[in-house]
């Protein structure tokens, strides 16, 4: 099964690189959505189905929709600038594959993960119980951060429209 994990991680890495390297914003958003989808599979394989569902629905779904909506307000890049940008970006990140290969080789050769006697994961599996009984201060935090986000939108966009 370790082979499947390695394949998934390699695909993840490819999508991440594509997301960063692509010039078109829509392609970057699609790359991000695919990255999240693969990440959701990895999380699912790590026995956290609920986190995987959140990752898939929020990061891969909702956020992609918001990004694509935003991108739809922008203008499409011209063909000439697209070619120039692509060349610039490739030249700027020419060293990236080299670093990945060297880092991977160093990790395989030298990294020895020590054996740990880790405590077993919490037995409570119902997320509602965890949220309402154990982490309700974090829930309050979520509400406050949403309020901060609303004010961010008001400050940056609503005032400008006026």
């Amino acid at each position: 099964m370790i082979t499947l994990d390695l394949i998934l991680l390699s695909i993840l890495l490819l999508f991440v690189i594509w997301t960063v390297m692509t010039v078109r914003l829509v392609h970057a958003v699609v790359g991000l959505a695919l990255t999240s989808a693969i990440l959701a599979v990895i999380i699912y394989r790590l026995n956290s189905p609920l986190a995987a569902v959140f990752e898939l629905s929020v990061c891969s779904g909702l956020i992609s929709v918001i990004f694509i909506t935003t991108v739809s307000f922008t203008q499409r890049i011209s063909k000439e600038r697209f070619i120039i940008r692509r060349r610039e970006r490739l030249l700027r990140f020419l060293y990236l594959p080299f670093i990945i290969i060297v880092a991977g080789w160093l990790l395989i050769k030298y990294l020895r993960i020590p054996q740990f006697s880790l405590p077993s994961a919490a037995s409570v599996t119902d997320a509602r119980l965890v949220l309402w009984h154990l982490r309700h201060l974090d829930l309050l935090g979520q509400v406050i951060i949403l309020i901060a986000g609303v004010f961010g939108v008001v400050v940056f966009f609503k005032e400008t429209n006026k």
Binding site: F116, L118, L137, G149, V155
Partner: protein, 475 residues
């Protein structure tokens, strides 16, 4: 009752946004000022805070585990004062009422974030509230939407996200090694010694994240831009408390009372502290803009606090806490002075605004108080805090660090006197271009902060004997 420090501002935030016409910027400002001052006074008369939450029946609904120890009390006091000052500065410097109303709301969000950060006893919730503070401050920094402020915000945002990556990874390791994220659980895991490599690795990652949040050298790239380009009231807030609470306080709390670190961790922290002290003091010399000079000075002063935390003797920790308070108040004062100059002359460039001593007697006098306290000149509070840190270093046989800290104080005095001489003391032929009158609110802030610095300096024996600091030394 401690829970009220989080719930009251939250309730006020909700009330202010109810759809009633009378809830305008003026009412919001008044209610927020009352809330901030209530926090200051409730900390000063703090015995009632130890009542159980059950007294208000709140405990049945909100079962948060919060900690109110002497360290938290000092932090709450500092937050209350600086946020109040920031509110008054914004009143005089923000351009529209609508913006001021938005500013108050975001200020309340950051206030809740900082209060919760100080009181929480769980490392994951701590991270959540540190981020809440940061998100509110990102928006606040760009509230006037000028190009440079947005650039400063962007730098802060990017580096803050990098810090978050470090901190989140560390949190995952803590959860993995301890099975929980409460302070007690992590502390016990360190004491038990199983998985100590993993715990130390997580602590090191956390430390990297906190160094970025503290803005110390070499992670300081965002600080000068953020402090100098933000709106004046936000500069006061940022330099006064935000980076101190989200970075320095968290470092202090975790590395003193939660993590049990052996070996070279203390030395590494001290090394970064001393590099910050020296490098930032030297960099401050080259600045022509007062706000940028103050930003570098801030990095240098945070270095002193970090140095004392690394030393970790009880005396050093007392020095760190006192210097935290001193730095928050005196840096707020100096940024208020900068706000006055910006308001009156539209610039904080030392080469443009010179010889203002006669035109701005209050600003001139109070800036002298602020800079002398920062440089560590008696009888101001800054003198005592630096003296305690240096004595603590010498008694811990850290002679080199103590010597460098002492010598850099002279450097601090030198660049501040250079600024003071140019801006206030030089006699110029032509008076500076008078743009606007200085609002009373700003003058009041200057006098209040200067009075705190002088009062705390002269009354230090009483302060040391106060219940808060006695409790601190005992703990």
């Amino acid at each position: 009752m401690v829970i009220l420090f989080i719930l009251l501002p939250f309730i006020l935030l909700l009330i202010l946004n109810l759809p009633f016409k009378f809830l305008n910027a003026r009412v919001a400002s008044f209610l927020s000022a009352v809330l901030f001052l209530t926090q200051v006074f409730s900390v000063l008369v703090h015995s009632w805070l130890h009542w159980s939450n059950q007294a208000l029946i709140l405990g049945q609904f909100f079962k948060f585990s919060l900690v109110l120890d002497p360290l938290a009390l000092v932090m709450l006091l500092t937050i209350g004062i600086v946020v109040f000052i920031s509110l008054l500065v914004a009143r005089s410097t923000l351009t529209t009422e609508k913006r001021y109303f938005n500013f108050i709301n975001l200020l309340l969000v950051s206030f809740i974030g900082m209060n919760a950060t100080v009181l929480i006893a769980d490392i994951f919730s701590l991270y959540v509230f540190v981020e809440i503070t940061a998100v509110a401050v990102f928006v606040l920094m760009a509230i006037e939407k000028n190009r440079f402020a947005i650039e400063g915000t962007f730098k802060y945002l990017v580096l803050s996200m990098i810090a978050s990556i470090f901190i989140l990874t560390a949190l995952a390791f803590f959860l993995m090694a301890c099975g929980e994220t409460s302070f007690t659980g992590i502390h016990n895991a360190f004491l038990a010694g199983a998985n100590i490599i993993l715990l130390n690795f997580a602590a090191a990652l956390f430390l990297c994240g906190l160094f970025i949040k503290c803005g110390i050298v070499p992670f300081h790239g965002w600080v000068p831009d953020a402090y100098s380009e933000a709106q004046s009231a936000v500069s006061v807030l940022l330099a006064g408390v935000v980076t101190k609470i989200t970075g320095v306080y968290v470092l202090m709390r975790l590395f003193i009372s939660v993590f049990v670190l052996k070996g070279n961790f203390g030395n590494v922290i001290m090394l970064f502290g001393v590099i910050s002290i020296v490098f930032a003091a030297l960099a401050a010399f080259n600045q022509n803009n007062i706000k940028r000079m103050l930003s570098y000075s801030s990095i240098s002063q945070v270095g002193y606090i970090i140095l004392a935390i690394g030393c970790a003797t009880p005396l050093a920790i007392l020095g760190a806490v006192l210097h935290f308070f001193n730095h928050a108040i005196s840096k707020s004062l100096l940024f208020v002075n900068a706000a006055v100059l910006e308001k009156k002359f539209g610039s904080t460039d030392i080469s443009i605004i010179t010889g203002l001593g006669n035109q701005l007697p209050v600003t001139s006098a109070t800036s002298l108080v602020g800079l002398l306290s920062t440089a560590g000149i008696p009888p101001f509070i800054g003198f005592w805090s630096k003296l305690i840190i240096i004595i603590a270093l010498f008694t811990a046989h850290r002679f080199v660090y103590g010597g460098i800290a002492l010598l850099t104080s002279i450097l601090t005095l030198a660049y501040f006197l250079y600024m003071e001489r140019n801006v206030f003391f030089i006699k110029t032929q032509e008076p500076g271009q008078d743009k606007e009158r200085v609002p009373f609110g700003l003058k009041f802030c200057e006098i209040l902060l200067a009075a705190i610095i002088v009062g705390a300096g002269l009354g230090l024996p009483f302060i040391l004997n106060s219940q808060i600091l006695r409790g601190f030394l005992r703990s």
